[in-house]
Point group: C2
Chain length 199, copies 2
Amino acid sequence: MKPAALPTKEWIIQQAATLFNTKGYYACSLSDIMEATQLKKGGIYNYFRNKEEIALAAFDYSFQLVLQRFRSKLNLAETSWEKLHIIIDVLASMAFEPVITGGCPIFNISVEAPRLDPALALKARQGMQMLTRYIEIKLEEGELQGEFSCSRSYEEIASTMVGSLEGANIVARTLNDAERLHWAVNHVKEYLVQNCQKP
Amino acid sequence: MKPAALPTKEWIIQQAATLFNTKGYYACSLSDIMEATQLKKGGIYNYFRNKEEIALAAFDYSFQLVLQRFRSKLNLAETSWEKLHIIIDVLASMAFEPVITGGCPIFNISVEAPRLDPALALKARQGMQMLTRYIEIKLEEGELQGEFSCSRSYEEIASTMVGSLEGANIVARTLNDAERLHWAVNHVKEYLVQNCQKP
């Protein structure tokens, strides 16, 4: 039930965000959102023109939750090296303690992107760019500050890190074996040691 | 249009396999299959009881195409070391020259599995098990034949290989940058060198 203090529009966005992140953007219908919010079609259309508009707002909301988790953990770190390790742990945490039911919202929208409307597919791309770009920045910072020197391009290291963790997520989930995600976390941390050599 | 020599049941399976592999198992409807096959509902229900039965047959068909590609390429190799490299290349080839429109069928059904009926989710698991298990067998064979010795469990090496390639697939597709898949292929081959040491 909607908390009294929460504006209806926010309530719709929050309920829809969970639905989209579990059922998928394509499969989740307006009826699903009506049922979850206990609102009639007109009550939803007061705030949004169509399902896509709800989906875009719901993704933005989920994305903010991801950013919040990154920020709250990254604040605890000082060096770029520590920050890179926190990024790895936060990405892995999305599988077991997700910020929103259903797992990592960026990962989920990305696997669905080829079937989605262009505006939603663009959100997937922007989310993925944020993840990889943020790692690239930390790699560059670490080099500038003399913490380590990278033996490959920032793009390649970031891409390998994100890809390995996202893929392990699928393998672990499909085989119902969480150990496989832990292997990937260790693997990515070793990869970082190999490719960012300390002086 | 259906080739005259092709039995109607096979025609339905082949058309449905492409649809399921592009639109997804959840989103693809019986109407989509009717349109693609140019058959009426009754014409399809002569052969299948429901959409799920078509989906199961369609996945089995797609899976056979994957196996065929593996077999045809693996026949060219002699050593386990060569075979492991071919498995990597075949997995990567599923993105650019897929055996069926839409990319790797095992990968596609796996990302959708949490939303699918148990029988289809089981197909995803069996497909993923086949991929990882096959790599494990080649690792064990290579060790037995004295080609190399593995510094981690077969399960861990296989899981890391499959996860890295599948994840890179998503990253490359989402960012529309094929280079990222090539990076992953090189990364997995280096990982193999590091973890399967030649005597």
